[in-house]
Amino acid sequence: MSEKKVDPKIAARRLLVRGGLVVAYVFLVGLFFVTGKGHTVLVDNKDAADGSAVGINGALVSIDGREALEQYPGDRDIVLLKGQRHRVRIQLPSGEPPIEMSLALPLNTDMLLLSIPKLVAKQAGYLEEFVQRDQPRPADEKVGDNNAFTSPDAPVTTPAP
């Protein structure tokens, strides 16, 4: 095929189309990565370490209009989010108009800690990356022990002795 002389115009167009496809591919991978990226947000209502902000008694925290989490001092709830831009709405027990603000999660994080007291007190650092030190891990299953010829939803293949 490559031996044949191709009209340079067609060759150029072919190159353009192929280049366009590559660009589109990279764009789509990037797009889905950014929009589908999951973040675990720990909604935290503990006192700040330096005591500058204290836990709120009975705050209602709602993210992206989901059902509100009712939080008391010392509470920590897990919220799974997809994408980076989210809206937080906090209803304080004092009956003031709710605090609403947008939340921008850094792309390259898996787990974040959102401190409600700090946010309400308008302190910096209300959102920080949370690094798990030692995750509990279930024991490894035996690898390579494959009963290759059973169906995926089969009952246990070997009857117990």
Partner: protein, 351 residues
């Protein structure tokens, strides 16, 4: 320079790069073994043992390749016949050589019957034998899985204790015919080396009988059917009958093979165990230099030795050198790679 070595070049193209690579790989494994603390005598003893265990399966492929039926991916049909024979032998309580030869004798009628039906079937599907053989083998194994649960065996060594019916997945032949061939005239050197004389003699006898058979009138007719069916038909040979005969012989050898395997291994493995056995045999004979339509005793000998050597040495050497269990993956790649290599080679008529 390359021009001056036509013989080596010819040899390489005939034998094929993959086989040469496997050969050197195995040689390397043997060379490396002492440095990673693998005992040579135990390894070599192991290779002989496995060679004897599996040799008959590899041998069983020869008749069908020669008669043009291709690689017998349905060898499990023969293995099933062997399993019926061995379970019957244990059920009857036959012991020692009686148990072994009893198992073989009881397996034979089943093997001949199954082989006959299987051969008739393959005659109907010329050109598609290998795929169909594979699935007939699979279906046969699954059918027997049901049978092992249902058949009225009663021997307490074989049935599940709690239910009192249905055969166990693995049945020990300890006290029946475990190692009867291996121990016969066995040569022991040191604590780790055993040469299983009896088993290898038995394998050799089977190979010799097959070799003799291939030289009889029927045997040569069979080869003629495989290499040139039109010519064979013109000279008055019944192609279908020859093919059926080759399938029966292959099935019988598979049946005897599994009994030999059991006496050395020590267990009868039922249910899904026979599913993968044909693939190992096929890989072995192809590593030995056979092609889809040509196989000889040398191919069997070299192939079974190389393949079993590989199976023995890769785990022990690679695992102790790298401290991983990667050998299973190496085995998968090597054995299936060689099968693909053989299947994709242009089938030229060998000299």
């Amino acid at each position: 320079m390359p021009k001056s070595t036509p013989n080596i070049k010819q040899f390489v193209t005939d034998f094929g790069w993959p086989r040469i690579i496997i050969f050197f790989f195995l040689a390397l494994l043997f060379a490396a073994a002492p440095f990673v603390g693998v005992r040579m005598d135990a390894s070599i003893s192991d290779v002989f043992n496995r060679f004897g265990q599996n040799g008959l399966f590899v041998l069983a492929l020869v008749p069908m390749i020669q008669s043009g039926c291709g690689l017998n991916f349905g060898l499990s049909i023969g293995i099933i016949a062997g399993l019926i024979g061995s379970t019957l032998s244990v059920q009857l309580g036959l012991i020692g050589f009686g148990g072994f030869f009893g198992a073989v004798a009881l397996a034979l009628p089943f093997a001949v019957l199954f082989g006959w039906v299987y051969g008739k079937l393959l005659n109907k599907v010329k050109g598609e034998e290998m795929t169909i053989a594979m699935y007939v083998g699979f279906a046969g194994v699954m059918f027997m899985c049901i049978m092992w649960l249902v058949l009225p065996y009663t021997s307490p060594t074989m049935v599940w204790g709690y239910a009192g019916k249905g055969l166990r997945t693995t049945i020990t032949v300890e006290g029946f015919y475990r190692q009867v061939l291996n121990e016969f005239l066995a040569i022991r050197i040191g604590p780790n080396f055993v040469f299983p004389t009896g088993m290898l003699l038995f394998d050799g006898l089977c190979a010799y009988l097959l070799w003799l058979f291939m030289r009889t009138k029927t045997g040569t007719a069979m080869t003629a059917v495989g290499s040139n069916p039109d010519y064979a038909r013109a000279s008055g040979i019944s192609v279908d009958r020859m093919r059926t005969t080759s399938v029966i012989i292959s099935t019988v050898l598979g049946a005897v093979g599994i009994v030999v395997f059991q006496q050395s291994y020590g267990f009868i493995q039922l249910y899904t165990a026979p599913l993968a056995m044909p693939f190992a045999a096929v890989a072995a004979i192809l590593i030995g230099g056979a092609s889809v339509n040509k196989a000889s005793m040398v191919n069997v000998l070299v192939g079974a030795f190389l393949f079993q050597g590989l199976l023995t040495m890769t785990p022990s050497v690679i695992n102790s050198a790298l401290h991983t269990d990667i050998s299973e993956v190496v085995r998968l790649i090597v054995s299936n790679g060689i099968i693909i290599y053989a299947l994709t080679r242009k089938t030229k008529v060998a000299k």
